[in-house]
């Protein structure tokens, strides 16, 4: 019988994993509700529970933060997880990301006339993985968390099963992601062989008290782990998946993946390399420099020639990864603070950008050519303003969060005597500014094309041929709701107008289909319907970007608290 072996259960401090538990519980609750209700649960309900889970998780992470800042870090579950500034920071950031992502996903799905409990479940669970990755203090935990997060991403990438591109993106992501996970795992194995433990604290202790005469294993392990994580954050030369995946994935999922993968990936990089493999800094730092420079250059330059906005944003996210890596490469307190700050503000910028893209892309999620953005201001001024804000913030224009991020990273790099890296980063920022501002200019440029009379021939509320961004008939229904209306409740009036609009749209579209082929891609005068939830998400992202761009003090103080706790010699 059992019991003879005498198991002493380790001290379990559940506070350490409460954010994860909240998110997983939310996902399970939605799953149960979906399975139990004879009708699939309404989209409003699943959105509500997702946001609620995100808020609870946020609350717990704030609680962790409040506990950590005065009393210092502590480990739990026999050292498997640690609660420190970094983990609480990751938990808070990811929780916020989940809330915003859920809102955007909801809007996207509603425009397609679907409810999305599964999408929300996947979002919640992969976010739990991301938080665990930030908290993991054991290579096994970090790997598992990485897998939880990645599997969610693979499925989210494949979520739009109407488009073959989505499946293609998921397949590419799955195969390359699986390969990189294997590489990471191999790195873990070698590190374990060299240090005799998979616990980061143990590894640090071992390396502090022993000098390895033959450090080949550890070097190999470090390289492989760096490759595995660099893949996840899409650093060059491990970035090849990113453009295809971002382009093919459902747009909200792409924004969410871009944000969360970077937060979790960089948290793991900081925890493994900067804080644990500190004694081997001289060995891994040059590698990070090289990767950072390559990432900055490739991301910036290749983005210039993109004609698809999602691909452009993918390369821009690669470019941003370069900036974050720059801070990591500096490996100073200031550099890490700058990196964390950058990741945080980037997640809002990218989600805001993809939120607008998800709306402009139309219900079929296909209108992502840059040409589709020509004259967006005429059609939907608010969307144009929002996207413009996100893009100029990404470009690093002052008074936005992006500016401070870039500034801090570059100054930290310069302070760490990485002047050449700082120069490269500045050049890259200048190049990047060009392609961001190009989109902004496109949006605010007047649309040319058929004279106003032609557009007027069709009813003003209906659609004109060729405008790829214009919604499909069925989803014009959301138009009635785009103007603020309660999410999850469809008013009868809205339905009636919508159906009217829809029919008009069909007639107009059908009639003009052949007529304006010549001016394909020419935007129409149709206003893009904005679901309430997406509007809220956009407002959150814009507000965050502007507010903390104007008053960055709070965030910089916060990341400073995080990084001062990381031991840097």
């Amino acid at each position: 019988m059992i019991g003879a072996t005498g198991i002493t259960v380790p001290a379990l401090n559940y506070v350490a994993v409460m954010p994860e538990i909240a998110l997983i519980a939310g996902a399970l609750w939605i799953m149960l509700a979906t399975a139990m209700s004879p009708r699939r649960i309404g989209s409003g309900a699943s959105l509500f529970w997702t946001v609620a889970a995100g808020c609870v998780s946020l609350g717990f992470s704030v609680w962790q933060w409040e506990g950590v800042t005065p009393h210092g870090a502590y480990a739990s579950f026999d050292g498997a997880v640690v609660v420190d500034g970094l983990s609480a920071f990751v938990a808070m950031t990811v929780s916020l990301t989940v809330i915003v992502a859920a809102l955007i996903e909801e809007g996207w799905m509603r425009r397609r006339g679907q409810s999305a409990p599964e999408m929300h479940m996947l979002t919640l669970l992969s976010a739990a993985g991301a938080i665990l990755m930030g908290a993991g203090n054991d290579l096994v935990v970090i790997f598992l968390a990485l897998e939880i997060m990645s599997i969610g991403f693979y499925v989210l990438a494949a979520y739009d099963r109407r488009r073959l591109a989505s499946g293609e993106a998921a397949l590419k992501y799955l195969i390359l992601g699986g390969f990189s996970s294997a590489v990471f795992l191999f790195g873990i194995a070698l590190t374990y062989g060299a240090t005799g433990s998979m616990n980061l604290a143990e590894i640090a202790k071992y390396l502090a008290s022993n000098v390895l005469l033959h450090d080949g294993l550890l070097l190999g392990g470090m390289v492989l782990m760096l490759v595995g994580l660099a893949f996840k954050v899409a650093a060059v030369p491990f970035h090849f998946w990113a453009p295809d995946v971002y382009q093919g994935s459902p747009t909200p999922a792409a924004g969410y993946m871009a944000a969360v993968a970077k937060i979790a990936g960089f948290a793991a990089i900081i925890r493994i390399f900067v804080s644990t493999l500190q004694p081997y800094r001289a060995d891994w730092q040059p590698a990070v420099w090289v990767v950072a420079v390559a990432t900055l250059l490739v991301g910036g330059v290749v983005a210039l020639v993109q004609t698809d906005i999602k691909r452009m944003l993918a390369y821009s996210s690669i470019n941003h990864a370069g900036f974050v890596l720059l801070g990591v490469a500096a490996a100073t307190t200031a550099g890490l603070s700058a990196s964390l700050y950058y990741v945080l503000v980037y997640s809002f910028m990218v989600m805001g950008s993809f939120a607008v893209v998800s709306l402009v892309g139309g219900p079929a999620d296909t209108a992502h050519s840059l040409e589709d953005y020509r004259g967006l201001y005429r059609r939907s001024p608010w969307l144009a303003w929002a996207l413009a804000l996100m893009l100029i913030s990404q470009a690093g224009v002052p008074l936005t969060t992006g500016f401070i991020g870039k500034l801090e990273v570059i100054s930290a790099a310069a302070a760490a005597h990485l002047v050449w890296l700082a120069v490269v980063a500045m050049m890259s920022a200048a190049v990047a500014a060009f392609f961001y501002l190009r989109v902004v200019m496109l949006m605010f440029s007047p649309s040319y094309g058929p004279p106003a009379g032609a557009a007027g021939a069709v009813d003003s509320g209906s659609m004109v041929a060729g405008g790829e961004g214009v919604p499909e008939p069925g989803s014009v229904a959301e138009g009635g709701e785009g103007v603020p209306g309660p999410v999850g409740v469809s008013s009868g009036g809205g339905v009636a107008t919508a159906s009217l609009h829809g029919e008009e749209g069909i007639v107009g579209g059908g009639g003009d289909a052949s007529g304006y082929d010549a001016v394909a891609g020419e935007p129409a005068g149709e206003r893009i319907p904005v679901p309430l939830s997406t509007a809220v998400a956009l407002a959150l992202c814009s507000g965050f970007t502007v507010f903390f761009g104007l008053f960055p003090g709070f965030l910089t103080a916060m990341v400073h608290v995080v990084t001062t706790a990381i031991p840097i010699h």
């Binding site: 071992y206 294993l217 107009g508």
Partner: protein, 267 residues
């Protein structure tokens, strides 16, 4: 024989023989996986590799892991591979002569050679710290052997990873369900949209067709044939409906037929 200490030369003869045999199995299987032109043969080679790995586990006195390796990997996972290969009839010989990217093979060979050399260089004289303070050796002498030791570590040091695996499995299950479920048609569930379809009656294709009928005033099927602009043509009509119908049907139709075939097989 309390496990292998140090490099292979110091191992006992049975251990050395076992290692060589299993290493040959593993490597031969691994090469077979990528060298076979028939996917079924590849899968069988994979089984051989997994068996070799199980043997290595046995040599390390990790009996339990060895058994699990055979049951789970060889017994379940590769069987599923084979199942899919046979079921979907993709067991035709691959034509490996035509290379879409010519430089790829050379590049791959170069990279492999480079990494092998790198691994060897790093491994030469490597000091395996694990041999010095191993955690397995004392555990094996406990009552219950490696199973008890494993159980103990699952409930102590690796409690959290063990529980996190549950989350991993859940997300994998949800993902599998999401990907294999029939895709609900646009508007099939949405409250607001449902009413706009009118004639559709709910089913996705019907909805598409009825919309087209409304739009063009023609017979639905005729419309699909006539107006069906090429899917990726830039001049797609404003609502993008035909293009979407095409792509969805292409996407759905394919698995559809396959699944039907499958059901016939199963019934």
């Amino acid at each position: 024989m309390p496990g292998i200490h140090g490099p292979l030369m110091a191992a006992t003869y049975p251990d050395a023989i076992m290692f060589v045999v299993s290493a040959v199995l593993v490597l031969a299987g691994a090469i077979g996986v990528i060298a076979s032109r028939n996917p079924v043969h590849s899968a069988l080679s994979l089984v051989m590799t997994l068996f070799g790995v199980a043997l290595i586990f046995l040599a390390q006195q990790a009996d339990f892991i060895a058994a699990v390796q055979v049951i789970v990997y060889a017994g379940a996972i590769v069987v599923l591979f084979l199942f899919v290969v046979m079921f979907l009839g993709v067991d035709r010989l691959e034509n490996l002569v035509v290379e879409p990217l010519r430089f790829q093979r050379v590049l791959a060979l170069g990279l492999v050679a480079l990494s092998v050399v790198g691994m060897l260089l790093l491994g030469v004289g490597a000091h395996w710290a694990i041999g010095a303070h191993s955690v397995t050796a004392p555990a094996l002498n406990q009552p219950g052997g490696d199973v008890a030791a494993l159980g103990k570590s699952v409930f102590t040091a690796y409690l959290l990873p063990f529980e996190a695996t549950a989350a991993l499995l859940i997300i994998a299950i949800i993902g599998a369900v999401v990907l294999t479920r029939r895709q609900p048609a646009a508007g099939e569930e949405g409250d607001a949209v449902e009413d706009t379809q009118g004639a559709g009656g709910g089913g996705a294709p019907a909805q598409e067709r009825s919309n087209q009928a409304d739009a063009d005033g023609v017979d639905p099927d005729g419309a699909a044939g006539g107006q069906g602009s090429p899917r990726e043509a830039p001049s797609r009509s404003s609502r993008g409906a035909p293009g979407e119908t095409d792509s969805r049907a292409a996407e759905d139709g394919e698995p559809g037929t396959v699944r039907r075939a499958g059901e016939e097989v199963l019934r």
